[in-house]
């Protein structure tokens, strides 16, 4: 990204019809550590990489429970993420109070997107520097959405955001056709494998990742470390056998996938 004379204000258009401040906000999302989400017909799994600033400190909290049936994973400015999670929790609880029933996720993400849009059209505000993977249920089933600082939101079968997320996306792109039929265990496995891809050789342990799940008949919750450790161990056994094929495949795929469109990422893809 190069310096421009039209990038000081969020309310200034560039001659090419871009809002650079919004695009810069989306860069902040790419700097955060990876977060991935994937869904089947009945469940959604969110997984994040926990990076601590030093060995002495605790990890950043990147997954938030919003309601019994909705949870979010964030990447980018965690403070912004925390504030938005509080907003989402508030919206859900207000709806439950008036209607005695859960707020449908599809309506919640629109409210969140509208809130983000406001910050792209006020000179005294700045866009939120956080991308949210929102996982939840409504009457039509399980959904996974991505809300970005531009105020756009998209529904996904699977998605990854944050640093080195392209590796996870590539992995998920290869396998998403079957996700609808997955059991919750298979979903968790693939989620962890996608996280593994973003670590680029670093060892995957339950200490450096957090996994959460929500589904029909299953309240949103973060899966405990021991369970995750067990799943990782089962992955290692399988992975050693597949290591050779996986390396050969990604070597040919990575170059083409790495050319992400640099121009106007806000436009609908």
């Amino acid at each position: 990204m190069f310096r421009n004379q039209y990038d000081t204000d969020v309310t200034t258009w560039s001659p090419a019809g871009r809002l650079f401040q919004v695009e810069y906000a989306m860069e902040a999302v790419k700097q955060g550590s990876a977060a991935i989400g994937l869904r089947s017909a009945t469940h959604i799994v969110l997984a994040t990489v926990n990076k601590a600033t030093s060995e002495l400190s605790s990890h950043q909290k990147k997954i938030f429970k919003v309601d019994d049936h909705i949870g979010v994973a964030i990447a980018g400015l965690t403070a912004d993420g925390r504030v938005l999670s509080r907003y989402l929790r508030n919206e859900c609880i207000n709806h439950s109070f008036v209607y005695e029933s859960p707020l449908p996720i599809s309506r919640l993400v629109v409210q969140l997107a509208d809130k983000a849009q406001v910050c792209t059209q006020r000179s005294w505000k700045r866009p939120y520097g956080v991308g949210l993977l929102v996982a939840g249920l409504d009457e039509t089933g399980a959904h996974l959405y991505y809300n970005c600082p531009s105020g756009n939101y998209f529904e996904f079968q699977a998605f990854a955001i944050g640093s080195r997320s392209q590796a996870a996306k590539t992995y998920l792109e290869r396998r998403f056709d079957n996700f609808d039929k997955y059991s919750r265990e298979e979903l968790i496995k693939d989620g962890l494998f996608a996280i593994k891809e973003t670590l680029q050789g670093e060892k995957l342990t339950s200490a450096i990742c957090t996994v959460a799940i929500v589904g029909v008949g299953e309240t949103f919750h973060i899966i405990n470390q021991q369970t995750i450790e067990q799943v990782i161990e089962s992955l290692d056994i399988v992975e050693d056998a597949q290591a050779a094929d996986a390396a050969a495949e990604s070597a040919s795929e990575e170059p083409s996938a790495a050319q992400e469109p640099g121009a106007a990422p806000m436009e609908l893809q």
């Binding site: 008036v98 209607y99 005695e100 029933s101 449908p104 599809s106 309506r107």
Partner: protein, 246 residues
């Protein structure tokens, strides 16, 4: 303070505040009991079509049961104009819900809770909507029947009634209600209750509508009357045993 002044008889007298707002302190045109019960395929509700102006039976074609969205029926007793106001609120709510067009919709449980919030909040402002509401419906195979009063009292049950119906109809419903009644059986129970109310409730008229709601939708019957019998011997010379009566 915004409370109305109390006259010598202890009844509240209407006061107009400096701001010019007025509050409902007594109802004017009222409907009497509404009855509801759950049956095999859904929920059935009955009410007469009378709108009384005090002791005068002023209006005789008032529809006191209305469909709300796809999944709910609402019946009201009490002030008719407040019922119409509630229908306007719900209309807005349902249209807004419909505009989402996203496969989600408000069901009877949501409508019931929303009305409860509205009634309770109005009560807290000493400006109640003077109604007792019966909310019934079916959504995704789940039957729902509940009541909300003007002070925000609310509950769910297999059979509900408002006003006089609470005292005269519910004992009959308690004795005769069973799980999985057929439509005909449910109508029989309701007609039995309606007849008692017709004899004993001064504000009831002999013109009823029975409404049912099932997964398929709402049906509201044409108005009809029940057969009454005034030939009882007790009605001949009713004051025979009371000296001094006429």
């Amino acid at each position: 303070m915004e409370w109305g002044a109390v006259s010598s008889e202890g009844k509240e007298v209407s006061t107009i505040l400096e701001s010019g707002s007025q509050r409902t302190l007594s109802p004017y045109v009222t409907g009497t009991s509404v009855l509801g019960l759950k049956y095999k395929d859904g929920v059935i509700m009955a009410a007469d079509m009378g709108g009384s102006y005090g002791s005068t039976l002023r209006y005789k074609s008032v529809e006191r049961i209305k469909p709300i969205g796809k999944h709910t029926l609402l019946g009201a007793s009490g002030e008719i104009s407040d019922f119409q106001e509630i229908l306007r609120y719900l209309d807005e709510l349902i249209i807004y819900d419909h505009m989402w067009d996203d496969g989600n919709s408000l069901g009877p449980k949501e409508v019931h809770n929303y009305l409860n919030r509205v009634m309770y909040n109005r009560r807290n402002k000493f400006d109640p909507l003077w109604n007792s509401l019966v909310v019934g419906g079916v959504k995704n195979g789940q039957k729902y029947l509940g009541m909300v009063g003007m002070i925000g009292t609310h509950y769910e049950d297999n059979h509900v009634a408002t006003g006089f119906g609470n005292h005269l109809a519910r004992p009959i419903m308690r004795a005769e209600w069973r799980e999985d009644l057929t439509f005909e059986e449910a109508v029989k129970i309701l007609e039995k209750c309606l007849l008692v109310l017709l004899y004993r409730d001064r504000s009831a008229i002999n013109k009823f509508q029975i409404s049912k709601i099932t997964e398929e939708g709402v049906t509201i019957s044409e108005p009809y009357a029940l057969k009454t019998n005034w030939d009882f011997s007790a009605f001949q010379n009713p004051t025979k045993g009371a000296e001094g009566s006429w």
